[in-house]
């Protein structure tokens, strides 16, 4: 069963700017892969708990202790653009 995908919406959610041509190409490829991946649904899993994690453990914490931070210079060393100790980006449109 071919899988129907709104590939433009998916690309927007993933913040990847693709041309119409690329979208069509990725859409077709994803459809094939998902058709294969969809085989998982043929396995009866009623009452089966999902596994998110292979370790059967809980509560891995760190104590509330301050450890050294990077210096401002180190933090900004790899920044594409910086200004006055800040990371600089183009205009931000809208709120999250």
């Amino acid at each position: 069963m071919p899988v129907d995908i709104d590939i433009a919406k998916v690309a927007h959610l993933a913040r990847i700017d693709l041309s119409a041509e690329e979208l069509a190409q990725y859409g077709a490829q994803l459809s094939v892969i998902l058709e294969y991946a969809e085989r998982v649904s043929s396995l009866p899993t009623e009452g089966v708990e999902p596994t998110s994690h292979p370790l059967p453990a809980t509560n891995a914490f760190r104590p509330d202790v301050v450890t050294p931070s990077l210096t401002n210079e180190e933090a900004l060393a790899m920044a594409p653009e910086a200004e006055d100790g800040y990371f600089r980006v183009p205009r931000i449109l809208g709120e999250p």
Binding site: A14, D17, A60
Partner: protein, 492 residues
Amino acid sequence: MTDLADLSIAEAGRQLRAGDITSIDLWEATVTRIAYTEPHLHAFLTVDRDGARAAAHAADAAFKAGEDAGPLQGIPIALKDNMCTKGLATTASSRMLEGWVPPYDGTAVAKLRAGGAVLVGKTNLDEFAMGSSTENSAFGTSRNPWDTNRVPGGSSGGSAGSVAAGAAMGAFGSDTGGSIRQPAALCGVVGMKPTYGLVSRYGLIAFASSLDQIGPFARSVEDAALLLEGVAGHDIHDATSYRGEYPTFSDGLDLGVKGLRVGIVKELMVDAIDSEIRSASRAMADKLADAGADVVEVSLPSSEYALSAYYLIAPAECSANLARLDGVRYGNRVPADTTDEMMAKTRAAGFGPEVIRRILLGTYALSAGYYDAFYGQAQRVRTLVRQDFAKAYEHTDVLISPTTPTTAFEIGAKTDDPIAMYYSDVCTIPSNLAGDPSISVPVGLDTQGLPIGFQIMAPALGESTLFRAAAEVERLAEFTARPLLAVSKETV
């Protein structure tokens, strides 16, 4: 006389401690080997000549002062370029991170430095460890030292190739669905994926967090155990790091397999696996039985769905893990008028097609209305795979299978067919889903002269048993062949 670059870590360690050789000797043999193999292999993205030389000097000084930080002191070791190294470029083979220099060492790297290892450089991989051939590297494909027209496997192809060619005495890679064991098999070396949580993931550029594990490449099982001991252990920086005790892996390698209950996995011995590889696996199973193991056939019925489940779980996790690559704080940026556009353009330009494919796939699998049918269902299948293993281990100690469905394939052979490429990991993925340790040991060559890998799997934290079985497989296989590239520079 043996070229020092071809020594095992264990043997080099003996000679270093006996004062017969120095770490600088090992480094020079290694850098000489790199000089004539690298033009053919392209296993490395960065060779840290200055850093390695300094580390070799420091190791020699330590030996001289009677200081011994362990079996890796003075040993030249290569690192997959998705392991963060302070002050040394770390790219994950992505344009996105071209030139990025981490301000920190990952925990495994820090442990290696503390253990006196000589870090040779950073090896090539499929971009962000997504692939089975290194063809997805933004910086060129690595080649298989057994046949440079063929892939070394992946994603840790550079690490596998460097160890096979003697360009490093050992190496580390990461294994999410087979990215250590598959290239190890294709390059004729030992490759091992530890129990999930045994090696800290802090500083490993994440692909799929619930599956990723760092593990070693070596030319012997003993070396693999020594390498693993050098990086294993609890880490406060990784919440998923294992907190309990575990035995020393390199003890008991000589115990043999008498009485060991070995299960050969029925579903991984099917027609889709190359017949020569199946024969080699069957032959090794017989040898194990002759050596006293109790070999039976076992079934992991859900394993045929493991690949499908993996290709939903791993992309889903990666779609979030790679979201941080947005051109804001580091990495390459494509300028644009607004930040939103900048991010979308940066990510389109910075990621290669396979990475984009998987991000889109994972984004889709997690999106509203599809989550349960895809991601949720894949997680339930993961549970079934784990239950299959648990059931099999009720009456076996280890499981065996081929490592890969084929030996090394030609460059370009599968690049247009993602599913065919994904199928390379069909034998290795179940252990990742289960979180269990697994190792590939070379057991012979096929009729084309290409190495065949044999996989051994054990239950979580069963590393000691795993290494013990692997050491016996190594003895029984008597695999001594070396790629031509590593044997004689005159012939290349």
